[in-house]
Structures are given as structure tokens and as C-alpha cells.
């Protein structure tokens, strides 16, 4: 039995004992090969990897007296550096070899000579490491110790954040100056105080103020796309400000201040403001106005309620505000991420924007977003109403009756004229009910069209009168020739019959030239309106004829019996005084300005642009202008023959109510007396620019 056990034991041990030598050799050679490969790579890596050069800083700070001169410090540290590279290389190689041996289970895998050989850094690698890393490492470490020294030296120069906030500038400067002197262990001579203060302490204090200001500015301009509540903003502001602090450092000073207490204190308020602004911006961007169609429906549903422009705007605005204010919080909650909604709901319960302020905000939004569609809706309704309620005015086919023109002309600014105009406007509407439904602007536009047509009628009447007056000489000549043969009464009838057709024949061309030629496009009634002479014109002709006949029939005044001893000198032909004047009507600062220019210059006259105000002042102002002009003209003429060319020009293509026609009528009326005088030849024209 003993033999059996012995054999079995041998059988188990023999393979192990026999295999061990080859296995050991293979393990050793594998370890060697592993080391060889790893060290080859390690060598390349060693020259590339940055070297830990903190020892340089340590060396320089532990014995600063040895490293004061830069070049000497560099030379000295280079020696340390070289020794360190060699040591570090050897240590790393030893560590690697130990690790490889341990993991291969061959403790004696590397003999001492091998370890010594591979533990020595090759010259090429050594030079490479030195060239690549020494200069950079030295510069970095030198700067590090210099900066540290500078911080140490100037530590007392810089105020703390609390000092900056807590002391007035002068007190702070004084305190720092004193502290700096104490820290340097010397007493500052009086004369040097100014130097220390202005050149050393003041710039440092100003830098502190600058950084504080930059911190505040940064907070003002910081924007977070995610933050919603004041808490979010407060966290965001503090975090981003902390991260940004190094950016505020000046090149001159190393001090980077932490958040100043005053700045920190402002964060909650600022956060609240930003949260509020975020909310307001959201409302601004997301509030949807009523569409033009909706607004139109609202107006048409209550036309009379919306007649006045201001009332209509108020009604639509009230609806807009109600809807927007009711929906605002809900919409804001819905637009944030689901996990934030409860926070936002909580925040909105604190009423971040007071109701009054919120209303003002929505007023702005209304002006910006709702007003245009309200305007468009109204414009659309006005256009429709013009067509349906005032079709003739809109098509410009309406023509006032001769009687209406005659009654209205010259009475525009009077109550009678206004009453007549109102009656005409009501009369021209297609139905009285619909007239009552017309919007304020519809009536105004219809009124403007009516006024234009009435103005044309008045112009026709005046032109016809001028034609009559222009025949005066002919009538005189004809009457003189016929007076001896025909009785005055009969002569008057004959002359009327002679001149009325003549004037009537002249009128169409005159009408076309004076009234319709300047108009483009021409109104719809251009071919049919004012073709015949107004009854009052016929009457004027009759009156004129009668006056001429009467004048001719009066006996000649008896000339003085004694003729002047000397024959009167031949009458010198006197050149008429040619005057060119112009009135320009323009707008400035919401006022109508009437300027005069040319040979007669008056003081500028102003009229308000608001219709009601305008109406109050129109008559008075125009009368004053006409009187002043006439007086100036008379003074200027001094009995001479005058040829006056007077232009009335309207700037900006605007229609200033009835201003142009009324100014012309006033001037016409006031100059009539002068015009009747044969010394005056006045040509009055108006144009639009």
C-alpha cells in the first residue's frame, strides 16, 4: 500500500516538477518581453507627458533669496529639473518592472543589471524631455511664484468686498492708505500720502468699484432661457455671476472680487424683476388679437355703439383686455415644462404684475397687435358704408342744385352754411336709417366728398360771375352805342339777351379749363354738372347792365369853363405794379400753418388740425388773413395800377377741410372792392403739391 501511495504522489508531483523549468523560463522571458515593449512605449510617452514641475515653485518659495535673479534661478532649477527627470524616470521604470514581475508571478524576472540599464533614461529621451518641457515649466512656475508674491505684497492694497460697500470712497482710500503703510512696516511721510493715495490706492479702489459695477451690469444683462420663477432667476444669476467673476479681473491687478454684498443683496429684487419681465415678454409674444373678421362682426353687431371712433376703440379694447387678462396666467403655466408648473402657479398667485400694470401692458399689446386689425375692420366697414349709404358721393356723381350752391357759397363758415351742409349730407344718403348707422369716419369722408362737390359748385358760380364781370367793357361799349337810339329799359333787355347767350357760350370751355382740367381723375358728374349759368349769375348780369345803362344815362359833369392855360402834358403810360404773392398751407406739429410769401409777406397764421377746434377758429383767422393782405396790398399799390398774381398752394397733398376754398373766398371777397377798381388786375389760382 505504501508503494501505491508513493507512486500516486510521484505521479502528481512529477508533471509539476518537470514542467516548472520551462514554464519558469517562459514566464521570465514573457515578463522580459512585456517589460521591453512597455518600456519602449513608456519612453516615448515619457518625453511627451508634461512634467510635474511644482518642485520649482516650492524651491523658489522656500529659499527665495537664492532665486531672485531670473537667469540664475533658471540655471539652478535646470539642474534640479535634470536630476528630477532621471529620478522620476527610474522610479517609474522600477514601478513598472515590479508590477510586471508581480503580475507574471516571477519575482526574480529582472536581474539587477537589467533594472539598472533600463532604469537609466536614454540621452535622446532626456534631451527631448528637457527641450520640450523645461522652458515652459520654468516659465509657468516662475509666473506662479511671482503672482503669489504679488498677491502677498499687495494683499493689504485691496479692500474687501464689505469695505467697498460699507465705506464712502474717500474714507475707503484713507483706510487703505493707512493699512498699506502699516503692512509695509513703515510710517508714511506726509508728502508721500498723496503719492500713495493717487498712484497706488486710488486705482485699486477704482478697480474694485469697476468690478462691482461690472457685476451689477452682468446681472442686469444676464438672461436665462430656462428660469421662470424668481427663485430660478436668483439661483441662475448667482451661479453665472460666480462663473463670470474672473472675466472682470483687470490686467493691472490680480485681485478678483467675489460677489459684493450690495450686488448680492440686489439679486432677489433683480430676480423678481427678471421673472416679471419674462412673464411680460411671454404675454407680449403670445397674446393673440381678435382677427379682422371678428372685429368686423363685433362692430356690425352694434354699429351705433361703434359709430364714434373713440367709443369703438374702447369697446374692442375692453373685450381684448378681458379675454387676455383672464387667459394670461393659464397660458403662462401651460407653456412651461410640466414639472415646473406647480412652482409657476405658486409664483403667479403672488401677483407678480399688479393688475393696473398688467392692464397698461395689455394696452400696449392692444396698440401693437389689435389696433391694426381694428383699424382695418373699420376701414373695410367705412368703404362698404360709403358704397351703400352714400353711393352718389362715393361715385362722385352727386351734384348739388343751383339753389343749394348759391345758398352755400360764401356761407360755408356760418351756421347757415353748416346747417345746409348737414341737410345736404342727410339728403344724399340712400335712407335715413342707414345714415344713422354710418360710422363717424364714414360721415366724415362723405362730408369731405360733399364739401369737394360744393366747393366745385361755388367755384363754378364764382367763375360765372367773373365771366359776367369780364363783359363789363363790352356792355359799356354796346350800351353807349345803343343808348341814344333805345330806351334804357328796353336796352337793358336787349343787352341781356345779347350777352347772356354769349356768356353761356363761353362758359363750357371756361368751366372745363378752370374747374375740371386740373382734376385727375375727374368726378363722375364732370360732363353734366354746372353746364348752365346759375340764376344768380343771370341776375348779376341784369344788375350789371342796369348799372352801366344808368351810369351812361346820367348827365356829364360840366367841365370847367377855363381850360388850363397850358395844354396838359401827354399822359405818361405808367407800367402797372406787378406783384406776385403766394399762400402756402402746410402741416407742422399737428397744426395747419398758413404762410405767405412773395411781395407781400404776412405773419404766419396757425389753425388746429382737430376738426372741432378748427371750426371754432377758422372764420376768424381767415378773415384776419384776408383783411391784412388787402390792407398790405392797398398800402403797397398807393394808387398805382396793380397786376397781382396770387397762388394758394397746398402742401403734402392733404385736404385741410374747406380751408383752401374758404381762404380763397375770403380773399376774393375782400379783394372784390379792389378788383372793381380798374387799377387792380388780380389773378387768383390755387394748386396742390
Amino acid at each position: 500500500m505504501k508503494l501505491f501511495y508513493r507512486v500516486t504522489l510521484m505521479m502528481l508531483l512529477v508533471p509539476f516538477l518537470q514542467a516548472s523549468e520551462g514554464e519558469k523560463q517562459l514566464k521570465r522571458s514573457t515578463a522580459l518581453l512585456t517589460a521591453n515593449l512597455i518600456l519602449t512605449e513608456f519612453e516615448a510617452d515619457f518625453s511627451e507627458a508634461p512634467v510635474n514641475a511644482d518642485f520649482m515653485a516650492h524651491q523658489m518659495t522656500s529659499k527665495p533669496e537664492d532665486y531672485i535673479k531670473r537667469d540664475a534661478a533658471r540655471a539652478k532649477l535646470q539642474e534640479f529639473f535634470q536630476e528630477r527627470i532621471r529620478t522620476e524616470y527610474r522610479q517609474k521604470v522600477d514601478l513598472l518592472l515590479a508590477r510586471i514581475a508581480e503580475k507574471n508571478g516571477v519575482a526574480d524576472a529582472f536581474d539587477a543589471s537589467f533594472q539598472k540599464k533600463v532604469g537609466t533614461i536614454p540621452d535622446t529621451t532626456f534631451n527631448k524631455v528637457q527641450e520640450k518641457h523645461f522652458v515652459k515649466a520654468f516659465e509657468e512656475q516662475r509666473k506662479k511664484v511671482c503672482d503669489a508674491q504679488m498677491v502677498h505684497v499687495t494683499r493689504e492694497l485691496f479692500p474687501t468686498e464689505e469695505e467697498v460697500d460699507g465705506s464712502p470712497e474717500e474714507a475707503l482710500i484713507k483706510k487703505l492708505t493707512q493699512r498699506l503703510a502699516e503692512a509695509q512696516k513703515f510710517q508714511v511721510f506726509e508728502e508721500n500720502h498723496t503719492y500713495l493715495r493717487d498712484l497706488v490706492v486710488l486705482p485699486a479702489v477704482q478697480d474694485a468699484y469697476r468690478q462691482r459695477s461690472m457685476q451689477s451690469q452682468f446681472l442686469e444683462s444676464a438672461r436665462s432661457p430656462q428660469a421662470v420663477t424668481p427663485d430660478d432667476f436668483a439661483i441662475f444669476l448667482e451661479k453665472t455671476l460666480l462663473a463670470a467673476l474672473p472675466e472682470f479681473k483687470s490686467d493691472k491687478y490680480p485681485r478678483v472680487y467675489t460677489i459684493f454684498p450690495s450686488v448680492k443683496k440686489s439679486i432677489p429684487l433683480l430676480a423678481e424683476k427678471k421673472a416679471k419681465t419674462r412673464y411680460a415678454e411671454f404675454l407680449q409674444a403670445s397674446t393673440q388679437p381678435f382677427s379682422e373678421e371678428d372685429v368686423k362682426k363685433m362692430i356690425l353687431a352694434d354699429v351705433q355703439g361703434h359709430q364714434a371712433r373713440a367709443a369703438s376703440r374702447n369697446k374692442i379694447r375692453d373685450l381684448f383686455l378681458k379675454q387676455s387678462l383672464d387667459m394670461a396666467p393659464k397660458r403662462y403655466v401651460e407653456h412651461v415644462a410640466e414639472n415646473r408648473r406647480s412652482d409657476v402657479e405658486q409664483y403667479l398667485k403672488t401677483t407678480p404684475i399688479p393688475k393696473k400694470e398688467l392692464s397698461a401692458l395689455f394696452e400696449g399689446i392692444f396698440d401693437q397687435k389689435q389696433q391694426p386689425s381694428w383699424e382695418a375692420a373699420r376701414t373695410s366697414i367705412i368703404a362698404q358704408q360709403l358704397v351703400s349709404i352714400y353711393p352718389e358721393l362715393q361715385a362722385r356723381t352727386w351734384t348739388p342744385t343751383d339753389a343749394a350752391v348759391e345758398s352755400y357759397t360764401g356761407q360755408e363758415a356760418t351756421d347757415e352754411g353748416r346747417t345746409l351742409r348737414k341737410e345736404l349730407l342727410t339728403g344724399v344718403a340712400s335712407s335715413s336709417q342707414r345714415d344713422r348707422d354710418a360710422l363717424e369716419e364714414t360721415r366724415a369722408q362723405a362730408g369731405t366728398l360733399l364739401d369737394q362737390e360744393l366747393a366745385r359748385g361755388s367755384q363754378a358760380l364764382r367763375q360765372q360771375r367773373r365771366l359776367v364781370m369780364a363783359c363789363s367793357n363790352d356792355i359799356v361799349a354796346e350800351a353807349s352805342a345803343r343808348l341814344a337810339k333805345t330806351k334804357p329799359e328796353k336796352l337793358a333787355v336787349e343787352l341781356f339777351k345779347l350777352f347772356q347767350p354769349r356768356i353761356q357760350a363761353q362758359w363750357p370751355d371756361h368751366r372745363e379749363r378752370e374747374i375740371y382740367a386740373p382734376l385727375n381723375p375727374k368726378p363722375g358728374n364732370a360732363e353734366s354738372a354746372y353746364l348752365t349759368l346759375f340764376p344768380s349769375v343771370d341776375e348779376l348780369l341784369r344788375q350789371l347792365i342796369r348799372e352801366i345803362i344808368q351810369k351812361l344815362a346820367e348827365p356829364e359833369p360840366i367841365p370847367p369853363k377855363d381850360p388850363p392855360p397850358d395844354a396838359p402834358p401827354p399822359e405818361k403810360k405808367i407800367e402797372p405794379l406787378k406783384l406776385t404773392c403766394a399762400f402756402t398751407i402746410d402741416m407742422q406739429d399737428n397744426q395747419i400753418i398758413v404762410k405767405s410769401s412773395g411781395d407781400i409777406v404776412l405773419e404766419n397764421a396757425t389753425l388746429p388740425f382737430t376738426y372741432e377746434e378748427y371750426r371754432k377758429q377758422e372764420s376768424k383767422t381767415l378773415t384776419r388773413i384776408a383783411n391784412q393782405f388787402a390792407e398790405s396790398l392797398e398800402k403797397r399799390a398807393k394808387g398805382q395800377n396793380v397786376e397781382l398774381s396770387l397762388d394758394i398752394t397746398v402742401k403734402n397733398g392733404m385736404i385741410y377741410y374747406q380751408l383752401v376754398s374758404r381762404l380763397r373766398d375770403r380773399l376774393d371777397y375782400r379783394l372784390k372792392k379792389l378788383r372793381d377798381n380798374e387799377k387792380f388786375n388780380i389773378k387768383l389760382t390755387d394748386k396742390m403739391e
Binding site: L3, F4, V7, T8, M10, M11, V14, P15, Q18, A19, E21, G22, E23, Q25, L26, S29, T30, A31, L32, L33, T34, N36, L37, I38, T40, E41, F42, D45, R99, I100, K103, N104
Partner: protein
């Protein structure tokens, strides 16, 4: 028996006095003593007889074992030759086995010497084949050993049967260890060559592990080294396999 004797006898055995005993009783006593003596003689005889048989048996086993031992030696040489070990190895003066690796692997390559090459390549091939199926190999050993010993299995005593089984297994293992040793040393020679020419280490796993090693932290480096070692060992055997065109016994581990 005279009276004196009888009396002395009775006194000696502590029996009754002469006056108290009769003749039959004395005869009976005599018979018992005779039987006792006979038993002693019989025991002595049988003891002698048993010892003699055992010696004969041991002698038989020993003779049989000597035959088997001779056959085993012969058989071992046969397999060593078959696996090329005799061409590659030799004994030194002290009886230690020496391996001719310097002649076998030249500059990292298997030699051109036909004998050595054939011993390594063909022998390695056969060894791999045989050791892939150890049961068949063991059968072959048994058959060959018993044939050489001119025995049939029935002749084997129980002890020799067990002994032979253990010895055959030991021989098989021993030969395998030698074969493996040759291949291990060949791998060592290859690695020595790689040491001189590290650029020839082109295995992608090795490269990858080296790269990882340099980028790794301390603890991870410790984990990578065994992986790298295994990869290098594997690469060495793979290198031999590629050159010889045969699988290595390393694969049978």
C-alpha cells in the same frame, strides 16, 4: 502411576487429595492435558504453513513486475522517439535532461536541420494527436507493455494491475511534460528573438493592450499586465504554430 506421583500431581493442579479422587477422574484429567498439548502443536504448524505461502506470492509479483518494468522502459523509449524527444534532448553527465534549443530555433525560426525540424514538427504533430485522445493513448500503452512483457491482463495480480495503471499514467504524463517542455523552451527562444526585435511583435491584441496600458491609471495598469502577458505568450505559441504548421500542446491545457 504410583501413588507418590499421583499425589504430587494433584497437589500441583490444586485438585482434590488422593483420598478424594477416583481412577476415572484421573483418566479424564490426563485426556484434557493431552488435547491441550495437541492444540499447541497444531497452531504452530499452521502458522508456519501460512508464512511460507505469502513469501511465494510476493516473489511472484516481484517477478511479474520486473517483466512489466522492462516493458515500460522499452515502451517509454518508443514514445519518446515517436514524439522526437530523443532527437531534441540529451542527457548530461549527471543524468539531467538537456534540450537543444539553440540548434532548434535559429534567429527566431525553426531550424532547417531536417532531423531536428522533423523531430519538432512531426513529433509535435504526433504528440498533439496522441494527447488529444488520452484514453486511446493509455490503451495503446497497456497493450504494448503487456505484449512486451508477454503477459495477458488475466495474468496480472491485483497489485500489479493497480501499479501498472499508475505507472502507465505517470509515464504518459512524464512524456507529455517533456514534449510540452520542448515547446515551452521553443517559445522562450522565440521570445528571446522578439526581445532583440520588438518590432516583430505585431499582434493586434498586444498593440491594443500596450496603448491601453499607457493611457490607464495605476490600478488599471495592474489589470492590463496579466492580459498583456497572456497575449504575448499566446502570440509566441501562435508564431511557432504558424511556422511548424502544427498545433501546440499548450492548446490542450
Amino acid at each position: 502411576m504410583d501413588a507418590k506421583v499421583r499425589a504430587r500431581l494433584l497437589k500441583w493442579i490444586g485438585g482434590p487429595s488422593q483420598d478424594e479422587i477416583d481412577v476415572d477422574e484421573i483418566l479424564g484429567l490426563m485426556l484434557q492435558i493431552s488435547l491441550a498439548l495437541m492444540m499447541i502443536f497444531m497452531i504452530a504448524f499452521f502458522m508456519f504453513r501460512f508464512k511460507s505461502n505469502k513469501q511465494q506470492q510476493e516473489q511472484f509479483i516481484e517477478i511479474q513486475r520486473q517483466k512489466i518494468t522492462v516493458a515500460l522502459e522499452k515502451n517509454e523509449q518508443f514514445f519518446r522517439t515517436r514524439y522526437g524527444l530523443n532527437s531534441i534532448t540529451r542527457m548530461d553527465d549527471k543524468g539531467n535532461t538537456l534540450y537543444q534549443m539553440e540548434g532548434l530555433i535559429v534567429k527566431g525560426t525553426i531550424t532547417d536541420n531536417a532531423n531536428l525540424r522533423s523531430a519538432f514538427v512531426d513529433g509535435g504533430k504526433r504528440a498533439y494527436q496522441d494527447y488529444t485522445d488520452v484514453m486511446t493513448l493509455r490503451q495503446a500503452w497497456w497493450t504494448k507493455v503487456l505484449t512486451d512483457a508477454e503477459l495477458v491482463p488475466a495474468d496480472l495480480t491485483q497489485e500489479n494491475w493497480k501499479w501498472l495503471a499508475a505507472t502507465v499514467d505517470e509515464k504518459i504524463s512524464s512524456v507529455k511534460v517533456n514534449c510540452t517542455e520542448v515547446q515551452l523552451l521553443a517559445a522562450v527562444a522565440v521570445q528571446s528573438h522578439f526581445l532583440q526585435y520588438p518590432e516583430k511583435v505585431t499582434d493586434s491584441d498586444v498593440k491594443r493592450l500596450l496603448t491601453r496600458f499607457l493611457q490607464a491609471k495605476d490600478e488599471e495598469q495592474r489589470l492590463i499586465i496579466p492580459e498583456l502577458t497572456t497575449a504575448l505568450r499566446k502570440q509566441s505559441f501562435h508564431y511557432l504554430e504558424t511556422q511548424a504548421g502544427i498545433p501546440m500542446l499548450e492548446n490542450l491545457k
